[in-house]
């Protein structure tokens, strides 16, 4: 009996020692991200984690994926506890990622940017979002998405349009030509507010220019008194009455895409991700793309970022993982899995489809970006921005009153 007891005791001690030594050696980092709709993206994420583990014995990388809303909620729950991710996904910008930064959930990464020379590898436009916050640089780019006007070549030809417009006035003139030819110029889905918002964003950039547009989005100038804001709402009104395929308030972006592919409208303001969708739904040769001609030399787009949590117990390992993630070999190997183009400027593009090549050219052309309104504004202002845009677009609010209504909401904020 005593022998059995001793054996058990020894076994327990050995097991405890083994566990303790294992705990001392193992370093766990957790990455909370989205459950991507593309299986290829999810698989690529897992592969990168596994490869990093293989290259760094003793490090375990756990990838936790959730739906968008669940992810946001989980981050808020984590904010109130001492448990949570080492790295988390969020969009860049003051509205979405900025909330977590403001709440102190993100670790400033200036030292890691310097240590790993990330700026030497990253596409400047993609990395630029890390500099928009107060108190240091936050996050590193995961993907960078540009948005531009796709067009149906045959419909443009039918309307007598021979080349892409070079400025906003030319674009409006082309929209008028399309209308005259009986072709709706552009399609949007109004039920998802952000789709129509894109039109307002690009009009604002066109009518206000860089400084005034940024001041409006940063709420540092009044929407009520700034003339270019009223002019932009008036333009939105004109587009919705004349050039958008109607009705559009009761359909979503997917229905809008079907209409575009079906040749019911000539243009669609979409991101670089649409290339793959177009390839799956039709013939890519039927389409081309050009940046919205705002005249400001900035590209419309947004970035998805990875942030290191301020609560991470292993920030150095987390930074090491991000460095690995953004490295040229890893980005080259996973090209096309997360986005058409990489956030690493050293990635080589070979055998690209013409539209993908067009996007690479666009990304190389622009060094500055202006971001989507819903990523620039705080969440409550975004909701009101959506409402005002939809009211103007559906003819229920005079364009002249729209800026005032938005400004009243901003002024009433606490």
């Amino acid at each position: 009996m005593r022998m059995i007891t001793n054996a058990l005791r020894t076994g327990t001690m050995l097991a405890t020692l083994a566990m303790c030594s294992g705990a001392a050696l193992a370093e766990d980092i957790t990455l909370w991200t989205l459950n991507f709709s593309s299986e290829a993206s999810n698989a690529a994420m897992q592969k990168i984690a596994s490869d990093f583990e293989a290259a760094n014995p003793g490090v375990n990388v756990e990838i936790v994926t959730r739906g968008v809303d669940d992810h946001k909620t989980a981050l808020r729950v984590a904010a109130g506890s001492d448990r949570g991710p080492d790295i988390f996904f969020s969009w860049a910008g003051l509205g979405l990622g900025g909330e977590y930064i403001k709440a102190g959930l993100s670790l400033p990464l200036d030292t890691y940017y310097a240590q790993y020379n990330w700026d030497d590898e990253l596409v400047p436009a993609a990395a630029s979002f890390s500099k928009i916050y107060e108190g240091g640089r936050h996050g590193v780019p995961f993907t960078f998405k540009g948005e531009a006007l796709y067009y149906n070549k045959a419909l443009f030809t039918q309307a007598g349009i021979t080349e892409a417009p070079k400025n906003y006035d030319e674009l409006v003139a082309d929209a008028e030509k399309l209308k005259t030819a009986g072709i709706p110029a552009i399609t949007f889905g109004g039920t998802v507010n952000w789709h129509l918002m894109r039109l307002m964003d690009v009009i604002l950039e066109s009518k206000c220019g860089i400084e005034k547009h940024d001041a409006l989005m940063n709420m540092k100038t009044s929407w009520k008194t700034e003339p270019c804001a009223a002019a932009s709402f008036a333009e939105l009104d004109t587009w919705s009455k004349n050039y958008i395929l109607s009705p559009f308030m009761g359909i979503d972006n997917a229905q809008s895409f079907n209409l575009f592919v079906g040749g019911r409208a000539a243009m669609m303001l979409e991101g670089d991700w649409l290339v793959q969708q177009l390839a799956e739904a039709g013939n890519l040769d039927d389409y081309d793309v050009f940046p919205f001609p705002t005249g400001t030399n900035r590209l419309y787009g947004f970035a998805e970022y990875h942030y290191i949590s301020s609560k991470s117990k292993n920030p150095d390992t987390a930074a090491k993982f991000l460095d690995y993630f953004m490295s040229t070999p890893v980005q080259q190997a996973s090209l096309g899995q997360f986005s058409t183009t990489s956030i690493n400027k050293n990635v080589a593009y070979k055998d690209l489809r013409p539209l993908d090549q067009k996007w690479v050219d666009i990304f190389n052309t622009f060094t500055q970006v202006y971001m989507n309104g819903d990523q620039a504004f705080p969440l409550d202002v975004t909701t009101e921005y959506f409402r005002v845009i939809n009211e103007v677009a559906s003819g229920n609010m005079a364009a002249a009153d729209a800026g005032g209504q938005l400004q009243t909401f901003i002024d009433n904020r606490r």
């Binding site: 109130g80 977590y100 709440a103 039920t191 009705p247 009761g250 229905q255 409550d380 959506f386 559906s394």
Partner: protein, 299 residues
């Protein structure tokens, strides 16, 4: 007193039987409810470690500064009125119909009840596609009949979007009212109906003077349940319009959710929830009193 005598006491037995339910109810209903009331006097974004007490500020904000609240309030009232009229009325007519000895009666009952067991979000998805102005069922049918001018932006026109959504809601909920009325109809005395007919009463008079009075308790239950259900209307609107276009189909329940879970202003979202709670209580309390009075009268 022995343990046996304690456990044989009826009040103790009752307490023991009720206790688990009370604990569960307290944890999952009472506590969250009280927490929401507390939160409605605080400012919290879900990220900050502390919640700041702000008094009635959230209520002042939703009543005087929120551009959507009163629209959502109005829509909730309209929805409640429509829900109090149409699902019970159509449900009663259906119940009267399938209570007759018609061919395929059981099949019809099942068909009419079927939408009730479908998840509201699935109903919303289905109807959203039917309402599609380009490819949807209604548009196609009207176009094939040469009535393309009748095709509307069913969910995109603020003047009709709420009512379009209500039609889907009616389709989904009418079966529930029908089943309750069917149950009520089984309690109508056949002897009284027979006696009325012998006295020369026609169908309408039999319904008005015999069936309808016998259905009064059922009607009350159906109406109260319809009101409570309509005040909570959320998923069907969320799935069909998301509160749009331009918040024109927004409802109090959905707006409370939006404020809390999408804008992450938990204080304001809670204040809207409390307003909705008070409205619901104003319906439930008279109903509970009426139920108790009825029980007392029966005793």
């Amino acid at each position: 007193m022995t343990s046996r005598s304690i456990f044989s006491d009826q009040r103790t037995q009752a307490a023991m039987l009720i206790a688990p339910a009370i604990v569960i109810y307290a944890v999952f209903a009472i506590y969250p409810m009280l927490d929401v009331v507390t939160l409605s006097f605080q400012r919290w974004n879900g990220l900050d470690a502390t919640k700041e007490f702000v008094g009635f500020s959230n209520y002042v904000d939703i009543f005087s500064k929120d551009p959507v609240f009163w629209g959502a309030f109005r829509n909730t009232v309209i929805w409640t009125i429509l829900s109090t009229i149409f699902p019970p009325l159509v449900g009663l007519l259906l119940a009267l119909g399938v209570n007759q000895p018609v061919v395929g009666r059981n099949g019809l009952r099942a068909i009419f009840y079927l939408p009730v067991i479908i998840a509201p979000i699935a109903v919303a998805t289905m109807w959203r596609w039917m309402y599609d102005p380009f490819f949807g069922l209604f548009g196609q049918v009207l176009t094939s009949m040469g009535l393309q001018t009748w095709v509307q932006d069913w969910l995109g026109d603020r003047n009709i979007a709420l009512y379009s959504a209500f039609v889907a809601y009616l389709w989904q909920t009418v079966g529930f009212s029908m089943v309750l009325f069917l149950a009520g109809l089984q309690g109508v005395s056949k002897t009284l109906i027979e006696a009325a007919r012998i006295d020369g009463a026609g169908r309408w008079k039999v319904f008005r003077h015999v069936t309808f009075p016998a259905l009064k308790p059922t009607i009350t239950i159906v109406l109260v349940l319809a009101i409570i259900s309509s005040l909570k209307a959320f998923d069907i609107i969320y799935g069909l319009t998301g509160g749009g276009p331009a918040q024109s189909t927004q409802m109090l329940a959905l707006w409370a959710f939006t404020q809390s879970m999408q804008i992450f202003d938990f204080g304001r979202g809670s204040a809207i929830s409390v307003v909705l709670l008070l409205i619901t209580l104003s319906v439930i309390i008279p109903y509970l009193r009426w139920t108790r009075k009825s029980e007392e009268n029966e005793e």
